[in-house]
């Protein structure tokens, strides 16, 4: 007698299997990654370690150190400043800087990740709106104008070959020269710079999706250019649009975080990562990274839901 498992549970099983494997690899990796720090700490506490002195240990492989000091390995799982924190430590840090602070009514404190995520989210959404608009307008221009097709597309591709980390400081310097004091504006521009491209490429493909006979049909009706855009090209491009919007919002988030890194910003997830690096607190970096991942997941899921809704409204099989 087998009991039917609900479909959504079945769809979660593979996701959890992968998660379990990743967590297992992570836990195993903590031991070699933290053995040197653990040995330093144990030595300071008066334990006998082989060999003595961190200078001597520098040239010995982590595997050798683990073999010679099996008793110290477990210490690597409970460090204040680990090279690689355990998933549980990251989880605790994440909870301490979000849920716990929210419960104390300090969700908007400068030490709360909720506050920093909100700062990042704002710039992401501005950049997303700007980048998406530019992408869609560019795509329309490319599809309708041969000149735009030949002139815009190569530059759009070239623009993506420039590393954004090289460009970000310049955008910030230039926007402050133009008298823009707010940090949000250059961040949104950087974010839009990364986000417009997938939207542009996706929309060009989408607007060109109708085949020749569908365009011929509209010609037999003597339809105007605007009519064939609104009634054929635009609806035909929607599945492509949503797919590229999902890529675009993730790119916008990455762009915002990159924009927060080299700028001396003090708020935003990127700033938290930078500060964590400067002050040697990997836990803060990891917590900020996970916060960014959660944020990206939420945004993509939101768009996914919107896509399903639109598909159902358009009568498409999902």
């Amino acid at each position: 007698m087998t009991k039917a498992v609900p479909a959504w549970v079945r769809s979660l099983i593979p996701i959890f299997s992968v998660l379990m494997v990743l967590l297992a690899i992570w836990y195993v990796a903590v031991a070699p990654m933290n053995i040197r720090v653990a040995l330093d700490q144990a030595e300071r506490a008066g334990a006998v370690v082989v060999p003595e002195g961190s200078v001597l240990r520098r040239d010995i492989s982590v595997w050798r150190l683990m073999l010679d000091n099996p008793g110290v390995i477990s210490g690597g799982y409970d460090l204040d400043r680990p090279r690689l924190p355990t998933p549980a430590q990251v989880g605790q840090e994440l909870w301490k800087t979000t849920g716990e602070m929210a419960m104390k009514g300090r969700a908007w404190s400068k030490r709360s990740l909720i506050y920093h995520a909100w700062i990042t989210l704002q710039s992401t959404l501005w950049g997303f709106a700007l980048g998406t608009s530019l992408g869609i307008i560019g795509a329309i221009a490319i599809v309708y104008s041969r000149v735009a097709d030949m002139s815009l597309m190569p530059w759009a591709i070239i623009s993506q070959t420039i590393p954004i980390v090289a460009l970000a400081p310049m955008i910030i310097v230039l926007s402050s020269q133009m008298g823009i004091d707010s940090r949000g504006v250059p961040k949104a521009i950087i974010s839009a710079y990364l986000c417009y491209f997938p939207v542009l490429v996706g929309m060009v493909k989408g607007l060109r999706a109708p085949d020749m006979s569908q365009l011929d049909l509209l010609k037999t009706y003597d339809a105007t250019g605007l009519q064939s855009f609104l009634k054929l090209r635009l609806p035909a491009s929607l599945p492509y649009l949503f797919t590229s919007l999902k890529v675009g919002i993730a790119a916008a988030l990455v762009g915002t975080i990159v924009g927060e890194l080299p700028t001396g910003a003090i708020s935003g997830l990127g700033a938290r990562i930078l500060i964590g690096d400067q002050f040697g607190t990997p836990l803060a970096i990891w917590a900020a990274l996970f916060m960014a991942a959660i944020l990206a997941g939420l945004l993509v899921s939101l768009l996914d839901g919107l896509q399903r809704f639109a598909a159902r409204r358009m009568g498409l099989k999902t």
Binding site: S213, D216, L217, K219, T220, Y221, Q227, K231, G315
Partner: protein, 261 residues
């Protein structure tokens, strides 16, 4: 001078495509008159120009030589006057519109008022036997039903000329027979002029008042057969000697124009 009743007049019509392998003579010196109310089939092997000729009538291709008039106008003017409805080989219904929405498409583009649209959609759906399917989406319908919906879409704005490019080519024999019968009834009821491109000899003979046999390289007309078959055509007409005799003549025309090398 063209007679009062002629819908399509072609004189010395030719169309040459310039390709990398040199010029391709898709149509060469085609003369043809289609009278009002005719059911004309164009039959011939691939590359004989039958579809190209239909597309010239529809102003989807521009002839490179000769004269062509549709309803006494240039093809371009006729297209802008919405003189014809075109049915493509593939139904090409918009997947995001319901069947009713698809039939409404030309009416929206041509600016019919909402009430008129609704009336025309239900009337044409009835004509093709799809009443009750207005709110279904194309993927919920069989291939034959989708093709009927695309015919309804071409009928919706009451053009007197119907251009059909192998509309039943992708359908199986049984569905095809059924649709042929329905198409004849529709033609009898509406008195439209129909130009019908096909690969199938029985289909051409069964449907037409006039059969135009074409052959390739260059695309040209080799025979025009005025069918003596009666207007009333049950399916078993296809077993009669008269029917087989015409089919034989079509087959000979095809063979003569085609060396099978």
């Amino acid at each position: 001078m063209a007679s009062q009743n002629s819908v399509i007049e072609a004189q010395g019509l030719s169309l040459t495509f310039q390709t990398n392998d040199g010029p391709v003579h898709a149509l060469s010196d085609v003369d043809l008159t289609v009278e009002k109310g005719d059911f004309v089939s164009f039959i011939g092997p691939s590359g004989c120009g039958k579809t190209t000729f239909l597309r010239c009538i529809a102003d989807l291709e521009t002839p490179t030589g000769g004269n062509l008039s549709v309803n006494g106008m240039t093809p371009d003017a006729a297209r802008q006057a919405r003189a014809y409805g075109y049915v493509f080989q593939h139904a090409g219904l918009y997947p995001w519109r319901t069947i009713g929405g698809n039939i409404r498409l030309p009416l929206e583009i041509m600016g019919y008022p909402e009430e008129e649209r609704r009336a025309r959609v239900s009337r044409t759906l009835e004509m093709v036997d799809l009443a009750g399917f207005e709110n279904k989406y194309p993927w919920q319908l069989s291939g034959g039903m989708q093709q009927r919906a695309s015919i309804a879409r071409a009928l919706a704005f009451d053009a007197d000329l119907l251009l059909m490019d192998e509309p039943f080519g992708a359908l199986d024999e049984i569905v095809r027979d059924h649709l042929n019968e329905q198409l004849l009834q529709l033609w009898a009821r509406t008195g439209k002029t129909i130009c019908f491109v096909t690969h199938s000899i029985p289909e051409a003979v069964y449907l037409s008042t006039k059969i135009v046999v074409m052959s390739p390289r260059p695309g040209r007309i080799t025979d025009v057969i005025e069918s003596p078959l009666p207007a009333e055509r049950p399916l078993d007409l296809r077993e009669t000697p008269e029917f087989l005799q015409i089919a034989q003549r079509v087959r000979e025309g095809l063979r003569a124009g085609h060396s099978y090398d």
